[in-house]
Amino acid sequence: MLIDWNNFTPWTALAGGALIGAASALFILFNGRIAGITGILGGLLRPKLRDIGWRLAFILGLIAAPAVWLSFAALPDIQIEASDTLLAVAGLIVGIGTRYGSGCTSGHGVCGISRLSRRSIIATLAFMATGVLTVYVVRHLLGA
């Protein structure tokens, strides 16, 4: 295995991770909810009137993050090489898959593992495995 030492960013990775953990901590301890984006967004498609506000507020917070970041520093690089068609296909698969699997990287990967949930540990291993496999097929077998 070859490690990309030039792009390895251990400190910002740990600090950013700690912020993500702190956000999840605030959310469960103050609002009593799991900070899982799939569940928060998915619930808006089955709207219960009194649930709409907090769901929208959380998503609005995510959307506002780049603007808030920009008021202190320049945004780091964002590179998306995928074509628009591939993005649409991937978005569809992610939308359907996360709802059937009841969660994504936030709900299962961060909150679920922190709860020591067996379901979430299995879900995380499953999407990590196909994530790695998909990149392997696309980059190394198809040579894209």
């Binding site: 960013t9 950013g16 993050a65 699997g101 495995a129």
Partner: protein
């Protein structure tokens, strides 16, 4: 006990949690799909950073969830709603396997998708719209499945 979190304090904490979550994603490099793909590319030049993102997040969140498990009410007085489902079924495994394929194709998962949208990325917008349509398809399949079983 309040089941519905709808007062001003709750909305403020929702907004704040989403914002801190998003800032964390940006700082961690998770909002850059190329960096996410570099983490998933074990056979190429591997960037292990995102493993540390997960480690840092879990290291902090595990304390909060340990506290939350012992409480019935949140600090704002809302019921703490932890998932109760313990069943490992086909839906969980197949859904997660599918999610990983979509994630591996472009390097975007649901939370960073909204950060990309906020950064003004058209590609982020395309992904978010497709993802919401995907979730809508799930809702349709679910309601169809339920009505056909009656």
């Amino acid at each position: 006990m309040k089941n519905h979190i709808s007062n001003t304090a709750a909305l403020t904490f929702s907004l704040l949690s989403g914002l801190i979550f998003g800032l964390g994603l940006i700082l961690a490099g998770m909002a850059n799909p190329a960096k996410v793909l570099a983490f998933l590319d074990l056979a190429g030049l591997w960037d292990p950073s995102l493993g540390l993102v997960m480690g840092g997040a879990i290291g902090v969140a595990i304390i909060a969830f340990t506290i939350a498990k012992k409480r019935n009410l949140s600090y704002l007085g809302f019921s703490i709603q932890l998932p109760t489902n313990r069943i490992i079924d086909k839906r969980l495994v197949l859904g997660s396997l599918a999610f990983g394929i979509g994630w591996g194709l472009v390097g975007i998962c649901p939370a960073p998708a909204f950060v990309l949208l906020g950064a003004g990325s058209t590609k982020g917008l395309i992904f978010v719209v497709a993802m919401v349509i995907g979730m809508g398809i799930y809702e349709l399949l679910e309601s169809y499945g339920k009505s056909s079983h009656k």
